[in-house]
Symmetry: C2
Amino acid sequence: MNAGARLDRARERLARAGLSGLIATPGSDLAYLIGWSPLPLERLIALVVRPDAEPVLIVPELERPGALASPAADALEIRGWRDGEDPYALTARLLPSGRVAISDGAWAAHVLGLQRERPDVAFTTVGAALPLLRAVKDPEELEILRRAARGADEAFADILGVRFAGRREIDVAADLAEALRAHGHGTVEFTIVGSGPNGASPHHEAGERRIEPGDAVVLDFGGRMAGYCSDITRTVVVGEPAPELARVHEVVRAAQQAGVEAVRPGVACEDVDRAARAVIEEAGYGEAFVHRTGHGIGLDVHEPPSIVAGDRTPLEPGMTFSVEPGIYLEGRFGVRIEDIVAVTEDGVERLNQAPRDLARVI
Amino acid sequence: MNAGARLDRARERLARAGLSGLIATPGSDLAYLIGWSPLPLERLIALVVRPDAEPVLIVPELERPGALASPAADALEIRGWRDGEDPYALTARLLPSGRVAISDGAWAAHVLGLQRERPDVAFTTVGAALPLLRAVKDPEELEILRRAARGADEAFADILGVRFAGRREIDVAADLAEALRAHGHGTVEFTIVGSGPNGASPHHEAGERRIEPGDAVVLDFGGRMAGYCSDITRTVVVGEPAPELARVHEVVRAAQQAGVEAVRPGVACEDVDRAARAVIEEAGYGEAFVHRTGHGIGLDVHEPPSIVAGDRTPLEPGMTFSVEPGIYLEGRFGVRIEDIVAVTEDGVERLNQAPRDLARVI
């Protein structure tokens, strides 16, 4: 990563977006811009980027050595503050008036502290004002995302060999976590195992329920590799599927295929959602598809753009996001299929290659 | 935990603090009030507590099943929202005008979204307006914190038996993590190993440096047990200490003792800081004690009160915090000693019992 180059690009984008400044706090924006990932804590750490001035990193004195070790330290001025000093006054003095974007996940305490010092500044979020700051991945980022997706595919291949029937969801979730680690993931972020009726709740995690023969089981899992996220979903069946499960799975598979096929530069995010949703609606399950079709992915599991009605962002080469339609039949079962895709110069690349047919497990 | 009782107490405290409402977002405030710990993500989850109305939990429809499973679900009204709806408008309609406190770690995106809908509401943070919401622990919380501290003590006892000389800091950090897990910690939050000159940076984590004979090594580590945090620091020496190291360690030990002895109900937080700092200043090392004396601890590693000049909060029985003075000699070494203490009816209880003398390791 050339952190200095990302800072330069951020400065250009600020100006074009009509922003007078950007404040990145610990999290993905800061990691992206200067390659440093301190913990987000109550002591303010803030990178202030302005169109016409050198970037300044405000850090507690305690954290100065960590800041100095960041890859972009040479492209920054570092200003330390000590316990007892007011970091908001220090930071506020650097802000031009006008509109300033702050990281979406910045702490409320920090936003309110800065607003108190600078009532003349109109604060907004990076997500609202510069949503695409990290959306277009460079070749190096794409290669890491490809590797992470491949690791998730391999973890799914492993899981097809474990026993499901009679074991608890949390046992299969533990197997998934182990498989992610075995296939190169540094951390495991989520391992959703939704069996039978639990699969009808899209965000059910994994519980004590024992998986039964005939169950549909939604497996949605991912982790981080070199800072970047994987996220894949497949739905499997224990033994033979009931006819309705097979039918619903085929609808979701076709919807996911339609969503992916809609992806190319210039298409609006909402059109990808519409393409996937239309297949489910035509099959009569429109009410049972209760979430958006996808989300951007990179240093965050969820980041812009959002593949949802109302998001007219035109797709650009290098953008990466999930395509993950689902059908949820309350009290009975759920089906979801998810791949991460990248927009290419003239179409789409699926980063996940695991088979999407209804796999049978034992 | 009786979650309903904590909600009732929060409503009383709101009124006394002149607040018209409190908004708890995913994190420790929400875990404390209703026993639910969803991940903080971009989709708004917000518990709205008002003095004269039933608490309302705003959740994405996806998360409703998780919310319904929370221990306090019966004491709440749960309102779901779907992708495409505006959760800020939904939440804002519940807010009375006046002053509303929001969790310190609430996302900037959420604060700014609520401010946009309700410019008439003066938002502040829980930390600023209700700093003591979680500060006084009930007997059940104290017992968990005691167990967590005991686990950290036992991990320290284990680490005295491992080899330091010739190994890297990250190797000893891995041993610390394993020891924390072996002694009942569900997660490991930090394992600082600052050897030789690295110990002079209070927030140095652990690096590639190989530990040498004669090094002072600062070990500052902790994790979570049943949601509550441990946090202990001891400084050890590899072999025989140089005379200045022995002298500095004795100053820090005496300062820590003085800090702990100053703790009793009614004493101001800053007086505990002053008691510890005075010992270090008298020994001529005042400039080398670059941080506050301590921080509250509970569901968060760092929470109010702050044991620092300017914090006049009177101590109350049940409060728990660290007492952790240090001396940092740049380019040479650092020494820090930290225990968690609880304020009792008439004095203080050290939750950590590990010996505080300068332990020799090999």
